[in-house]
């Protein structure tokens, strides 16, 4: 891993990964839409609203995956002072925030017809809302200092402390009473969901992950370019 602490190598890696991530994202999202909207049956209880699952569940997974990545990269950045770890965390934040926003809104759109309410202040929904605010707080704090290094350090600490929320989200449906259903894919006894619905779900999840990697490559490259620009300007000043 330390090999890629060098920004030039990291950019080379991002450039190499980017077209693959793009191809996988576009192909799996297209296939996921096909299976999700056309080639999968309605649920026997939830009817056609079950299709919202194919955009809701992967977004919620990505919300937690991105946060874990952001907190992990922040820890690496603080411990080993790797600049690219900060860059990775910073580039991840808006993507994770977008997925969290989508998980909340699509969940609301699913909750209204199935639970009879757009929102309940239960543990699962509230902890995901807090996750969204953690992303926003990270981005705000990162930009709040004139000294960039201080902002990065403050935001990294916030990201690490906020990581305690991730297991709370994951286990909230087991620890507290909630309208939200418990896990049906990631279970010790295997997925309790029919293959016809598991297929689009997995395709969309792979698509969202590849999309994250694709956009991450773009943002990392832009971020490293801008730090080069700042260094050049400083030298010429």
């Amino acid at each position: 891993m330390h090999r890629f602490a060098n920004p030039t190598r990291f950019v080379a890696l991002a450039r190499a990964v980017q077209p693959w991530a793009m191809t996988i994202a576009l192909a799996t999202l297209f296939a996921g839409l096909w299976f999700g909207l056309l080639a999968s049956p309605p649920d026997y209880q939830q009817g056609e609203t079950v299709r919202i699952m194919y955009v809701h569940v992967p977004a919620a997974w990505m919300a937690m995956f991105c946060y874990t990545g952001m907190a992990g990269a922040s820890a690496v950045a603080l411990v080993w002072k790797h600049a690219v770890a900060h860059v990775t965390a910073r580039a991840t934040a808006p993507i994770g925030a977008a997925f969290t926003f989508l998980a909340l809104v699509t969940g609301s759109l699913w909750g209204k017809p199935m639970w009879g309410t757009w929102w309940v202040w239960d543990a699962r929904l509230t902890s995901v809302l807090i996750l969204f605010f953690l992303y926003l707080g990270y981005m705000a704090l990162e930009n709040a200092f004139d000294d960039r290094a201080r902002g990065q350090r403050a935001a990294a600490i916030l990201a690490i402390v906020g990581a305690v929320n991730v297991p709370i989200i994951k286990f909230s449906v087991d620890w507290w009473n909630t309208l939200h259903q418990p896990a049906s894919v990631v279970r010790l006894d295997g997925p309790s969901i029919h293959p016809s619905m598991l297929t689009p779900l997995i395709l969309m999840a792979v698509g969202y992950t590849a999309f994250y990697i694709w956009v991450l490559c773009l943002r990392v490259r832009a971020d490293i370019n801008m730090s080069k620009v700042r260094a050049l300007k400083l030298r010429n000043a």
Binding site: E48, V55, P94, T106, L109, F211, R219, L232
Partner: protein, 54 residues
């Protein structure tokens, strides 16, 4: 066909969920592509400055 778009009466929930998901992700993608282009241009501009005669 109309039956399909009606989504068993849940069209008002299913379609916005999909439209919003792809809308938000597409916006994020376009914004990221734009900022990459802008950063490349900024790098060219900053680099061009170093090549001006002393």
């Amino acid at each position: 066909m109309n039956d399909y778009f009606n989504m068993g009466g849940y069209a008002a929930f299913v379609w916005p969920a999909f439209a919003l998901s792809f809308g938000v992700l597409a916006t994020l993608l376009v914004a990221s592509l734009k900022s990459l282009r802008a950063s490349e241009q900024a790098l060219l501009d900053a680099g061009a400055k170093t090549e001006t005669p002393q």
